[in-house]
């Protein structure tokens, strides 16, 4: 079955072409929304089935299968194939992408039902899946880069999906530009790799890792990591992700939570062998990850926009994954990628369901003749929604438990694994730094549980606050209703996965402590052992259990604390109290550490000034002058020649004879 892997990639492309072209050319087709929706969904679901079949035929020991389709680029000694790699890592990613992708496609059919750009939305989604699968299945860096850029483009198109709103178009630009900064570093990393081993093929690179000595390994690792900070929203390039929430919510769930933003983690995991040779680069990855985790978590604490909270939470969780990578826990990072895909997609879709309902309320009030304008994403307008939206509430709550790290929910296992790796790294080189990072990570875990319950409680518990806040919205509650089944069904499936997904990676010491024999309960660990390198955990059982205990205490403690502070409509009062208590620190969080302002002052404004005063002058006066001069010369020449083209046949014959003389002259003499 593995030889059919190309189908996985091609089918979404076909879906994109059919929906895109037919939608573009036929007015009638655009109205066939269920045809469009189901076609797009199957264009992702069928690849999922194929991937699943391939997955079933593999085992942890399977050798990678490389399927070469054709030679893509050939220039001198450089060749690059369109070739896909089937191994334990790529098939895992493919399953996540197509699996979560299918659910989000189904959800979108309900969510986007009334949008006039329906066909465009699904065409873009299919295109995204195509690009993402290229990214994770590619067998060489160039094809990976094609997917890398492709997901960037799709992200741009989908963030700016409602492009008539200037703010959304700007957010799309911002995402694209910040990503370009990272992409540049990634390109340089590619050049370095090519210079070192003379190929971009994974097989060649991985079998020649010894050629990357010292500095080269460090720089390749660092440059790739800079690329990852763009795509996976880490300091200093993370600021685009919160703004990217301007896109439709299913997009936020699919691209900006579950799949695209994890591609940086995938990349580093793919190159784990290289990273392990450079402890300095690993330290950098961990430090950046740790800082991002805590910075984003503190910002999330102060946000009221339901999607913004989730966005910062995503940044923070991505930081967690980089912490894992930086401490040698590549499998742990992938574990968190997978569980995060489940619970964060569920949370985003749940928030979409809430926003959908709030929009409906606004719409119905409008219908009643009452023009009430409120922000449908502001959680201060919500409250008490659990009565009206039971499915959304229950699934949201399950996922909140998961992300908070409450035991047996999936996030507990993956987060615990990361903390263990961090603590373990404390025994090695740069130990003190890793211990500090461990401390930061525990603090972040605490904050995560806290702000997530703040969000859940403010939104779903207490009383519905909209009627009290806006004149004319007194009977708004009667318009609240649960979303359609096409939206709640994916929520339930994701919630179920968020609940049990953690059991794919139960730590082995949970069993070995008691049985004192080797146990293979950690399926993920075994599955990925062939394709990734990882640091060995050398902590004694006692320490391991202590770490687990700390994690549980922190998560449960934060949950209880949040419950006491935010339940029963105490939310806004509590926030005011916290603001009072933390003073300027809180203000810093609320201002998002002034990253945007700093970029504005340090890069954008000087850049604009440079462009205006120096480059524009150079461009207009010198470059344009030069180009125009050439253009005029050619035009002059062209119009002269035009005179030769008299239209009189005699001239033609003369030219012909001149030509004959020229040729004969050239050939005979």
């Amino acid at each position: 079955m593995a030889e059919f892997v190309w189908l996985i990639v091609v089918i979404p492309l076909i879906g994109f072409l059919i929906n895109g072209l037919l939608g573009l050319s036929s007015e009638g087709y655009r109205k066939q929304k269920s045809v469009i929706g189901w076609l797009a969904t199957f264009a992702v679901f069928v690849p999922f089935l194929i991937a699943f079949q391939i997955f079933l035929e593999m085992n942890a020991g399977s050798e990678p299968v490389v399927v070469r389709l054709f030679t893509w680029i050939e220039a001198g000694s450089f060749t690059s194939d369109i070739a896909y790699r089937v191994d334990q890592l790529s098939i895992l990613m493919a399953l996540v992408v197509t699996g979560v992708g299918t659910l989000i496609h189904i959800y979108s059919m309900g969510y986007m039902k009334t949008d006039e750009g329906f066909y465009k939305f699904f065409a873009y989604l299919n295109l995204f899946i195509f690009a993402m699968l290229n990214l994770v299945m590619a067998n060489n860096l160039l094809l990976l880069f094609l997917g890398w850029e492709g997901v960037g483009v799709c992200s741009y198109l989908l963030i700016g999906f409602w492009y008539k709103d200037m703010e959304k178009a700007t957010a799309a630009n911002k995402a694209f530009i910040y990503n370009r900064v990272g992409d540049f570093a990634f390109l340089v990393a590619m050049f370095l790799v090519f210079r070192t081993v003379g190929s971009l093929d994974f097989d060649v690179i991985f079998s020649n890792l010894h050629l990357f000595n010292g500095d080269i390994a460090f720089w390749v690792a660092v440059l790739m990591f800079i690329g990852a900070t763009g795509k996976s929203a880490q300091i200093p390039l993370f600021v685009w992700l919160p703004d990217a929430m301007a896109g439709p919510t299913p997009v936020s769930a699919l691209i900006h939570a579950a799949t695209m933003v994890t591609s940086g983690i995938y990349l580093i995991t793919r190159f784990s062998g290289l990273y392990m040779t450079s402890p300095e680069a690993m330290l950098l990855v961990a430090v950046i990850g740790g800082l991002t985790a805590i910075v984003a978590a503190t910002i999330a604490l102060t946000q009221y926009d339901i999607k913004k909270v989730l966005a910062y939470s995503t940044v923070s969780q991505l930081g967690f994954m980089f912490l894992a990578l930086g401490s040698g826990g590549f499998v742990a990072a992938m574990f968190h990628v997978v569980t995060h895909a489940f619970f964060k997609a569920c949370l985003f879709l749940g928030s979409g369901s809430v926003i959908h309902a709030m929009h409906h309320v606004e719409h119905e009030l409008e219908h009643e003749g009452k023009h009430v304008h409120f922000d449908p994403q502001d959680m201060r307008n919500m409250g008490g929604l659990k009565e009206y939206m039971p499915s959304t509430y229950k699934t949201f709550l399950i996922s909140t438990f998961a992300i908070a790290g409450i035991p047996v929910f999936s996030g507990f296992f993956s987060k615990d694994e990361i903390l263990a790796y961090l603590f373990n790294a404390g025994l090695g080189e740069f130990g003190a730094v890793y211990y500090a990072l461990w401390g930061l990570a525990v603090l972040t875990a605490f904050l995560t549980a806290f702000y997530m319950f703040r969000l859940t409680l403010t939104t779903f518990h207490g009383t519905f606050k909209l009627p009290g806040k806006f004149k004319g919205a007194e009977n708004a509650a009667k318009y609240l209703h649960e979303s359609p089944a096409s939206m709640t069904a994916p929520l339930w499936i994701l919630a179920a996965l968020a609940l049990v997904g953690g059991f794919m990676g139960v730590p082995e010491f949970f069993v070995t402590t008691f049985t004192s024999t080797d146990a293979t309960v950690n399926w993920l660990y075994a599955w990925l052992s062939g394709v990734t390198v990882r640091a060995a955990i050398i902590l004694p059982y006692g320490v391991k259990w202590t770490l687990v205990a700390i994690a549980i205490v922190v998560a449960v403690g934060a949950t209880i604390l949040a419950y006491r502070m935010y339940d029963n409509d105490k939310g806004e009062a509590t926030d005011a109290a916290i603001r009072e208590r933390f003073g300027s620190l809180y203000a810093t969080w609320e201002d998002k550490y002034k990253f945007d302002e700093a970029y504005e002052a340090m890069i954008i404004r000087p850049g604009n000034r440079l462009a205006d005063r120096v480059l524009a002058v150079f461009d207009v006066k010198i470059l344009d002058g030069f180009v125009n001069a050439i253009g005029s010369i050619v035009q002059f020449f062209g119009s002269l020649l035009r005179f030769v083209q008299t239209g009189v046949i005699n001239t033609y014959a003369i030219a012909f004879v001149v030509g004959v003389i020229l040729i004969i002259g050239l050939l005979i003499f």
Binding site: L24, G647, V660
Partner: protein, 483 residues
């Protein structure tokens, strides 16, 4: 019987010939134009099917007592010619109805012309080349002036005819001299002859002159702008793709089989022609305001790039030329198809670039299609046009023609100016009057979409085809370099 076997190997041409006769008879018995069109399409469809089968399955073989070939380059040329004709007929039917000149005679003429082209592209003997060339040309003269009440068309047809007759004289003289020098008209036998001499070189020169005229290389190009502008737009597409392909395939065959040992001596001549053609074609295209005329000059420029491949005088160069012809057929038929669509919506003179202002938003699909074709013509990556240029130029580099290639790349970069200019008008200029475009027929837009997909496909995956083309030259006398 051998003749039956040979006819079977020559099936696409046979079908096209029978189709032409049938359609002519139908016209004689006053069949409705719809019937004539449908019959034409049926014959061409079958011929295209057979040509595709030949292209993929048929091994190279000589037929009709070594006068012609089947399989290999012959199948390749036949395929492009029939493919181009097939789409031309679809577009022509719609176009002629649009401009209210739906003459049924156009279909038999197109069929006979195609027959001539196939003969030309499969020839293995100078006599066959001549027969094919003339069958094609005579039909083309008539097609150019098919709209009889249009002065420009009739004028261009007459010019084409006079100049064409002139070049035919040179061609025949060339054959005569070559026969005198080598004692044969068969391509391989001429190729075996190595002893140069005045008569031999005279024959070679005149033969090449005639071909340069047919493919409109500078300075034998003067007829091209007039004819391309004067002819019905879709017929222009036909002339510049199928017609040019047939001539070029024949030329490549002659160079490969009849002149392998003098390839290096021809390099200088071809380089000069390439240089002149690229520069002049692009420079004059740049100052055109009429889109159709711009495409006419740009087709001259493309001949220049093709001559770089010929100048390389290697297997790489010749296969690059063949690939280029394939790519050029897709994108040029497509571009002319969209131009014809815009034109028939208004008036036959609706070709000024300024009248394209804002049209890109009116029927988005047509605007996008034209953009794809123009991008490809300009040689922007991920299009067949890019790969075609890349192959031609890299063959040039391999043959050591670095400065020629540099000029070629610069000329190609300059060509982006006039291609993109059309897009600037399509998208970035406000339309002056409220032009409303009628919805294109489904079959019309699907044909164009198909061509656009092929253009993009061969932009991403040139691999398989280039290797196949390379294979055609496996027994070439040229010193082959590995792909």
């Amino acid at each position: 019987m051998e003749i039956i076997n040979d006819l079977l190997l020559f099936l696409p041409a046979t079908i096209v010939a029978i189709g032409g006769l049938t359609v002519m008879m139908l016209d004689g018995y006053k069949a409705r134009s719809r019937t004539i069109y449908t019959t034409t399409m049926v014959f061409l469809g079958i011929a295209l099917g057979v040509a595709s089968w030949d292209l993929l399955m048929q091994a190279p073989e000589l037929i009709f007592s070594d006068m012609a070939g089947a399989g290999g380059t012959a199948a390749f040329g036949t395929f492009i010619v029939v493919f181009g004709t097939f789409f031309t007929v679809i577009l022509t039917h719609d176009y002629l109805i649009g401009v209210k000149h739906n003459f049924p005679q156009v279909y038999p003429l197109l069929m006979f012309c195609t027959f001539g082209m196939i003969v030309l592209a499969t020839a293995n003997d100078l006599v066959t080349v001549f027969v094919g060339l003339e069958t094609m040309s005579v039909c083309l003269y008539a097609l150019a002036g098919i709209i009889r009440d249009k002065r420009l068309g009739v004028e261009s047809a007459l010019k084409y005819f006079v100049m064409g007759a002139f070049s035919t004289g040179f061609f025949l003289y060339g054959i005569t001299l070559l026969y005198g020098a080598t004692g044969s008209t068969s391509l391989p036998e001429i190729g075996a002859y190595t002893d140069g001499g005045l008569i031999y070189w005279g024959g070679v020169s005149l033969l090449l002159v005639a071909f340069m005229f047919k493919v409109s290389a500078v300075p034998f190009h003067m007829w091209t702008p007039d004819v391309y502008t004067g002819s019905p737009t879709t017929i222009t597409a036909y002339m510049s793709t199928a017609g040019k392909t047939a001539s070029f395939v024949a030329l490549v065959l002659i160079l490969d089989r009849a002149m392998p040992f003098i390839a290096t001596e021809l390099t200088a001549t071809f380089s000069i022609i390439a240089l002149l053609t690229m520069i002049l074609g692009n420079a004059v295209a740049m100052v055109q305001d009429n889109v159709k005329r711009m495409l006419a000059y740009s087709s001259i420029a493309h001949v220049g790039y093709l001559f770089v491949g010929l100048a390389a005088g290697s297997v790489a160069g010749y296969s690059a030329v063949l690939f280029y012809l394939l790519a050029y057929t897709f994108m040029n038929v497509g571009a002319f198809g969209v131009v014809a669509y815009y034109e028939k919506n208004h008036d036959v003179h609706f070709n000024n670039v300024e009248s394209y202002a804002g049209l890109g938003y009116q029927r988005p699909i047509m605007g996008v299609l034209l953009s794809i074709f123009l991008f490809s013509l300009a040689g922007i990556p991920i299009s067949a046009g890019f790969n075609a240029k890349y192959l031609v130029f890299s063959a040039g580099i391999e043959a050591g023609l670095v400065s020629l290639v540099v000029v070629g790349v610069l000329a190609s970069a300059a060509s982006a100016y006039y291609y993109l200019r059309v897009m600037v008008y399509l998208y970035f200029r406000e339309g002056k009057e409220s032009v409303s475009l009628i919805e294109p027929k489904k079959v019309y837009s699907f044909s164009l979409v198909f061509l656009a997909l092929l253009t993009l496909y061969f932009g991403v995956v040139p691999g398989g085809v280039t290797e196949m083309i390379y294979g055609y030259f496996s027994d070439s006398m040229l010193t082959a370099t590995a792909p």
